[in-house]
């Protein structure tokens, strides 16, 4: 596994608060726009979906691919980001 990105470290380092969805690792402007269109404009909404799916990696990645057409890497980065954040703060 490669090293973590700065975006990931920044997100996991503190409570997410009202951070935008683009603050999540693996979510850029493009995917952020699609997520916002789908109603997931904040990071905590994505976190909510992640929790609704019971932290199921498979389901969450599928959901990411479904909603914003994320790639496997992007979905994986976002999942890892949320998962580690939850382990830290939840």
């Amino acid at each position: 596994m490669s090293g973590t990105s700065q975006k990931y470290r920044n997100f996991v380092a503190e409570p997410m608060g009202n951070k935008a969805v683009t603050e999540l690792a693996g979510i850029g402007e493009t995917l952020g726009g699609r997520l916002t269109e789908a109603g997931f404009d904040k990071a905590y909404t994505v976190l909510g979906q992640y929790l609704v799916l019971k932290k199921d990696e498979e389901l969450f990645k599928d959901w990411m691919k479904e909603v914003c057409h994320a790639s496997s890497k992007q979905a994986s980065d976002c999942y890892n980001c949320l998962n580690d954040w939850c382990e830290e703060f939840l």
């Binding site: 789908a38 109603g39 979906q49 609704v52 799916l53 019971k54 199921d56 990696e57 498979e58 389901l59 990645k61 599928d62 959901w63 691919k65 479904e66 909603v67 057409h69 790639s71 496997s72 890497k73 994986s76």
Partner: protein, 421 residues
């Protein structure tokens, strides 16, 4: 198929109940997660898609991503019809793969949806699976296939898969050499087996050759009836005058000490002086270097042992080469030599009465008595001892005792004469 098709018509609660009935995890069905869950449920009902992956995603995901092409192709059209309202075909393709992480896997995906759904894993898969015999990919793909139906029947389903796999290995290893290149472990196993086989053959050959190499013993067996002198356990070197045992030309010929050999040859073949000289020189050579020379001397030996059966010469040399009896015999003679040497040394050292000993020289004509070292001498500083030494020294130097005796006699005579006259 009807169940699969009407999943979208179900309400969230019904969908959740169906998921539970299917053995999927109890996940709340929401509008946002409905599609994902419907897909999962459809795959689960299909019989092979990743319910196990849904249940225990982390473990099985990696395997699935490792073998993305293993999924068989079928039943892609109904899926497209059902899901096709919003989702693009490319996304569908991605969706069908549960845990696709690599880009390469993503590339293959358009083919996989076809492969994922179908219930006919066994019918469609074999063609692909048989081709993939490489250890990593094949095992993973088979496990994936097994894990799909449900999480619980896993162990039951794995066994036939394993047996299948072994069959593939055997077939491909024996028939298809291209596939052998993929499977390193199998190749290694075969190489190891071949190596073992060769080792076993070599060991068997060794076992066979040892009896043949110990021709000496067999030959002894032939020769023994003729003489009981065949194998004296220890033959001292100074028994050269003893008649050579008949075993010697057979077995000991190369190793026997020179004098005996010559005596024997002189008696056995006196009409061949050239042969004698040859063997004698040869014996010098052979006795010096040791066992390796025994192999070289085979021609001479064959000539020497012309009295012996001709067949015995070569095996004998070979036996001498390989058997340890020669070493034992060498060791025997060496031990004799060392024993004799030790005995001579002991005699020389112990023979203090011989005229060549230092003490006799000292006590001889010179009359010098060797004294121990001063440091070892007792401290005799008495006047009498000193006087005695002085007297001794004078006596040694001037023979003063005899002169004193003569002087005493003369004085005695003078005294007697003066008394009587």
């Amino acid at each position: 198929m009807a169940d699969v098709d009407d999943l979208d018509a179900l309400s969230n609660a019904e969908l959740r109940a169906k998921m539970l009935a299917q053995g999927l995890p109890n996940i709340p069905v929401t509008d946002s997660s409905r599609k994902v869950l419907v897909k999962r449920l459809r795959a689960s009902i299909g019989g092979q898609a990743s319910p196990a992956a849904a249940a225990s995603p982390k473990k099985s995901n990696r395997r699935e991503t490792l073998a993305p092409s293993a999924a068989p192709a079928a039943a892609s059209t109904p899926v497209d019809k059902l899901d096709g309202n919003k989702v693009a075909p490319a996304t569908k393709a991605r969706r069908t793969i549960t845990a696709a992480e690599a880009k390469e896997a993503e590339r293959r995906r358009p083919e996989e949806p076809v492969a994922r759904k179908p219930t006919s894993t066994t019918s469609a898969a074999p063609a692909i699976q048989t081709r993939r015999t490489s250890t990593s990919s094949s095992t993973v793909s088979e496990k994936k296939e097994v894990e799909r139906p449900a999480k619980k029947p896993e162990p039951i389903a794995e066994e036939p898969a394993a047996s299948k796999r072994t069959n593939y290995h055997e077939n491909t290893l024996e028939v298809n050499s291209l596939i052998v290149l993929e499977s390193d472990e199998e190749e290694d196993e075969q190489l190891a087996q071949a190596a073992d086989l060769v080792e076993q053959q070599y060991a068997a050959r060794e076992k066979l050759s040892k009896p043949t190499s110990s021709v000496s013993s067999t030959y002894d067996y032939h020769r023994k009836p003729s003489s009981t002198l065949v194998d004296p356990p220890r033959r001292p070197a100074y028994e050269a005058s003893a008649v050579d045992p008949p075993r010697r030309p057979v077995y000991d010929a190369p190793k026997v000490d020179l004098p005996r050999r010559q005596a024997y040859e002189a008696s056995a073949a006196p009409s061949i002086p050239a042969a004698k000289t040859q063997t004698s020189s040869y014996d010098f050579l052979s006795n010096r270097p040791g066992r390796y020379s025994s192999y070289v001397r085979s021609p001479a030996q064959s000539y020497v042992t012309a009295e012996a059966p001709a067949t015995s010469s070569y095996p004998r040399t070979y036996a001498n080469e390989l058997s340890d009896d020669n070493e034992a015999e060498d060791a025997q003679y060496e031990s004799d030599f060392t024993r004799n040497l030790a005995r001579l040394r002991a005699e020389r050292i112990g023979d203090r009465s011989s005229p060549y000993s230092r003490r006799t020289v000292a006590t001889g004509s010179v009359g010098y008595e060797p004294l121990p070292r001063r440091s070892l001498r007792p401290d005799d500083n008495s006047v009498s001892v000193a006087f005695g030494r002085w007297v001794n020294s004078l006596e040694q130097k001037y023979r003063i005792k005899s002169k004193l005796f003569i002087l005493f006699v003369v004085l005695l005579l003078i005294g007697v004469y003066s008394i009587f006259f």
